[in-house]
């Protein structure tokens, strides 16, 4: 039985008078690794922002678990984000002044965790994301791929209900991107982490279980990986993309 973790009903979002999202209905189940794709300006980042409480909807409603996000105040939203969500950004947003380990542990430090508990949570992540060798280094001295793995570890260390990833491979070379995607897929498989990722890269999307296509602020198609190989899922995504956007991303 699948448990829905994110539910969006009839969500709309306008910037001024320009509609960016139109009547979006979407359910993301626990343990899903979902990609949101679409040409630029299709509203994919905005959709992620409203689902992750970074931005407010203009109309409609969003639930995370049993909690309606509309009813939460600023303070509660902050607590909610801190406890239930993790974020990965295209440009990492690591704090240059902290080491890799400090960056990863920062969310826990801010919540007043004890050292033992921090170490306990750090260990499996470090292993899964191969960060052991660089824990004491500063962000300025490590590669883009390593930075994004650090950022992923920081997003995961709080055991969030959902991880939101905004073009996580956008700034990486193809090898680092592949490594990261494999690790994300691995996390998803191993820990059952729910991941919602915005991307315009069909290759990155092919690592997901499910791909949602957006155009002009509306969901226009949806694909499930099912049991097919990653390669054939990739082909289907490409095919679907070319049908929708004429290959324009």
């Amino acid at each position: 039985m699948q448990t829905p973790i994110i539910r969006a009903r009839n969500v709309t979002k306008n910037y001024g008078k320009t509609p960016v999202l139109r009547n979006i209905d979407l359910t993301v189940n626990e343990g899903e690794f979902t990609a949101i794709m679409g040409p630029s300006g299709s509203g994919k980042s905005t959709l992620m922002n409203v689902l992750s409480t970074i931005d407010r909807v203009t109309g409609g409603e969003v639930w995370l678990g049993q909690q309606s996000l509309l009813s939460l105040g600023k303070k509660e939203l902050r607590r909610f984000r801190q406890e239930r969500m993790g974020f990965i950004f295209q440009d990492y947003n690591l704090l240059d002044t902290l080491t890799v380990q400090e960056n990863i542990l920062l969310p826990l430090s801010l919540r007043g965790f004890k050292t033992d508990e921090m170490k306990k949570r750090l260990h499996p992540l470090v292993e899964a994301l191969q960060l052991g060798a660089i824990l004491d280094r500063y962000p300025a001295g490590i590669s883009g791929g390593q930075k994004q793995r650090t950022a992923s570890a920081r997003a995961l260390i709080t055991n969030p209900a959902v991880v939101f990833a905004d073009e996580p491979t956008g700034a990486l070379d193809s090898r680092s991107a592949t490594e990261l995607l494999e690790e994300m897929a691995g996390m998803n498989g191993r820990f059952g982490t729910t991941i919602l990722m915005v991307t315009h890269d069909p290759y990155a999307a092919s690592y997901c279980n499910r791909v949602i296509f957006l155009r002009d602020g509306a969901i226009v198609n949806e694909l499930y990986a099912g049991d097919q190989s990653r390669k054939s899922f990739f082909d289907r995504i490409l095919e679907s993309q070319s049908l929708l956007g004429g290959g324009r991303v």
Partner: protein, 658 residues
């Protein structure tokens, strides 16, 4: 990790960014402490003749300086916070509350402030010794100034730093509450829109500026200023301020747009250096307007204090031409006074003594016809024969005055803005009464000249002077029998500038015999005058240095920011194969376009104002023009240096690998 630890870690790693900020804070403290410790330094206070005035002057100057420093630190902090927006956003996203983030920034501010307070006071103490000695030298006192850290000076400096902490806290509070988490995501990179320009507002900018300049050049004597003074004043201020702003917002953009239409626009690097400027017009306009107006004010201030200091010696001499002069009383008092003066044989031997003969008269016409600002003159009129006037002119080494005939007169209207010579036929008529006989004089000249200077008393000087008319010798001779005569005792003594003690004793005796009589002494004014104008020069120069410092940092911080924003663009250009020499040329041209107009406009504004309002009324001092040009040249050189250093900072930043 506690907030404090997080703060310390941040400071430790971000050392470069913090260093600029810390430097700004320390500089502020040093300047403030240096200045306020002068106010409390006993060595200085003891030697001053008018220490109340000194305290007052320094207090006003130090308030101005504090305001400057606060503004300057606010600017530095806003730059600092802008650089850290993402960091703050990240803290908020990871669950810190706005209050916690603000508290963390507050710790930071307190640490930085305490650091700069301590080091600034130590440095400032040293500097204040040197500045104190410089001040003493300007005032021509031979006094050494000892190193001191007075509680009062430390207290006021600490108070200013406390005010800075409070204001920064408020500023940070606002900034933190304004941080939008959406900015963390790549999807929302906000780009300034290029400004829409058109010919009409661009032209309006030029018209506004030109009308202001024309009004200034017309000068105070022209009809527009005399009849419509308030209107002209408004037109000039609005013209310069609005004109400058429109110039940067519209005119420069319009020029750039015109450049884009040139047939050869795509050749060379014109595209590169003009394109990004188009996007900056909006944010640049205010900044460059500020730089222009600020630099005009800066040059005006420097020129004013320098002129004030350099004319004070000769101006005092001009306004108080006689070392000691007083009206003749009775024989007994006069000989007592004479004995008293000659009693100072050692310090101030009498070099010259003479008696000035005049006739008393009263004005029938409005005195303003002959004496500009007539309320500043003593009641009644004094008539002097031309030959006596000539004798005094020779004594003072001036050229021979023009001759008078019939009822012509020369009015000695000391302090008149522009001396006037009235050609025969259009000479103003001035009616007076001598004894009981009316007399009609025609004014040939109105000179800025004192035969008998300002009346001085112990605590008041320069409130009234004698109104003297020079008339032809024949006229004088014929009036003499029927008129009341008034004579004056005039002494020239050695080292008159320091004859305060002599003057104090003489006037004590004089005023006890004739409380309302005329007494004038050079020394009374000279010592106060030199103190006040030295102080003005000193504070003015001090302010100018700070202002220049603030100006430099506004420019510097702005270039740092713009270069940081342009990094990706230049990275792309490098990938497209631009050579580093080309990068340099593009940056130089781009910055020249930003830097040159404020310099030109600023110099133009200040030169026109100084030339029409200061130099024209001080035509007797040709050396002033070189003082003004000198201070403009200094400003020019510093500004050009700023340009080159900004360009090199810019280059360094954009050539960093991403």
């Amino acid at each position: 990790m506690s907030l404090l630890q997080l703060t310390l870690r941040g400071a430790n790693r971000n050392i470069r960014l913090y260093a600029i900020y810390l430097f700004a804070m320390i500089a502020g403290v040093v300047i403030h402490f240096t200045f306020s410790s002068l106010m409390y330094n006993e060595d200085i206070l003891n030697v001053l003749r008018n220490s109340d005035m000194f305290r007052q002057g320094v207090t006003i100057a130090s308030i101005a300086i504090s305001l400057f420093i606060i503004l300057f630190i606010l600017y530095a902090n806003s730059f600092f916070m802008r650089q850290r927006k993402k960091e703050i956003g990240m803290y908020l996203l990871l669950g810190m509350s706005e209050r916690q983030v603000t508290r963390m920034l507050f710790y930071e501010t307190v640490i930085l402030s305490v650091l700069s307070l301590v080091s600034g006071i130590l440095l400032g103490g040293l500097l204040s010794k040197w500045f104190g000695m410089l001040l003493m030298k300007l005032m021509q006192y031979d006094q050494s100034v000892s190193l001191s850290f007075k509680a009062g000076a430390v207290g006021t400096t600490a108070a200013v730093v406390a005010a800075i902490i409070l204001i920064i806290w408020l500023q940070n509070l606002i900034t933190v509450h304004r941080v939008q988490l959406v900015e963390l995501f790549h999807a929302r990179s906000i780009m300034e829109k290029p400004i829409r320009t058109s010919a009409i507002p661009a032209l309006l900018a030029i018209i506004l500026l030109i009308q202001a300049y024309v009004l200034i050049v017309l000068g105070r004597e022209s009809i527009v200023w005399k009849e419509y003074g308030l209107f002209s004043m408004t037109a000039v201020s609005v013209g310069i301020i609005a004109g400058t702003w429109l110039f940067f917002r519209q005119f420069t953009g319009w020029i750039l747009a015109r450049l884009g239409k040139l047939p050869r626009y795509h050749e060379g690097n014109t595209v590169l250096w003009t394109s990004s400027l188009r996007f900056q017009a909006r944010s640049n306009a205010l900044n460059l307007t500020f730089i222009t107006l600020f630099s005009s004010a800066l040059i005006l201030l420097t020129s004013f204090v320098a002129i004030n200091y350099s004319v004070q010696f000769s101006a005092t001499e001009k306004n108080l031409p006689n070392d000691i002069a007083f009206e003749t009383l009775d024989g007994e008092t006069d000989s007592k006074l004479d004995a008293l003066i000659r009693g100072f044989e050692k310090e101030h031997p009498v070099l010259d003594y003479r008696v000035l003969h005049t006739l008393k008269a009263d004005a029938v016409s409005d005195r303003e016809i002959a004496f500009q600002g007539e309320e500043q003159f003593l009641e009644g009129l004094l008539l002097v024969p031309w030959s006596t006037f000539k004798e005094f002119e020779q004594l003072r080494g001036h050229p021979e005055p023009s001759e008078l005939s019939g009822n012509e007169t020369i009015a000695l209207s000391a302090g008149i803005d522009i001396p006037l010579v009235h050609p025969a036929g259009s000479q103003p008529v001035f009616q007076i009464q001598v004894g009981s006989a009316p007399l009609t004089l025609s004014i040939k000249e109105q000179l800025d000249y004192s035969l008998l200077g300002w009346r001085t008393t112990i605590d008041d000087s320069m409130s009234s002077k004698a109104a003297v008319l020079v008339i032809a010798d024949d006229a004088y001779a014929s009036l003499r029998p029927s008129a009341g005569e008034q004579t004056f005792q005039i002494y020239t003594i050695e080292d008159a500038g320091n004859a305060e003690e002599l003057s104090r004793q003489v006037q004590l005796l004089f005023y006890s015999a004739a409380p309302e009589g005329y007494y004038s002494s050079f020394a009374d004014v000279y010592s106060k005058q030199i103190e006040s104008s030295s102080l003005l020069l000193f504070s003015g120069a001090f302010l100018a240095v700070i202002a220049l410092f603030a100006l430099a940092s506004v420019i510097y911080f702005r270039q740092l920011r713009e270069a940081t924003d342009a990094m990706t663009q230049f990275d792309t250009l490098r990938k497209l194969g631009i050579r580093s020499g080309q990068v340099k040329a593009v940056i130089r041209k781009q910055l020249l376009f930003v830097f040159a107009p404020p310099l030109v406009l600023g110099l133009l504004n200040s030169w026109l104002i100084i030339d029409s309002y200061m130099l024209s009324t001080l035509q007797d001092y040709p050396q002033l023009t070189s003082i003004v040009i000198g201070s403009m040249a200094v400003y020019f050189v510093i500004y050009v240096m700023l340009y080159f250093s900004s360009a090199s900072v810019y280059e360094r930043i954009v050539s960093r690998k991403l």
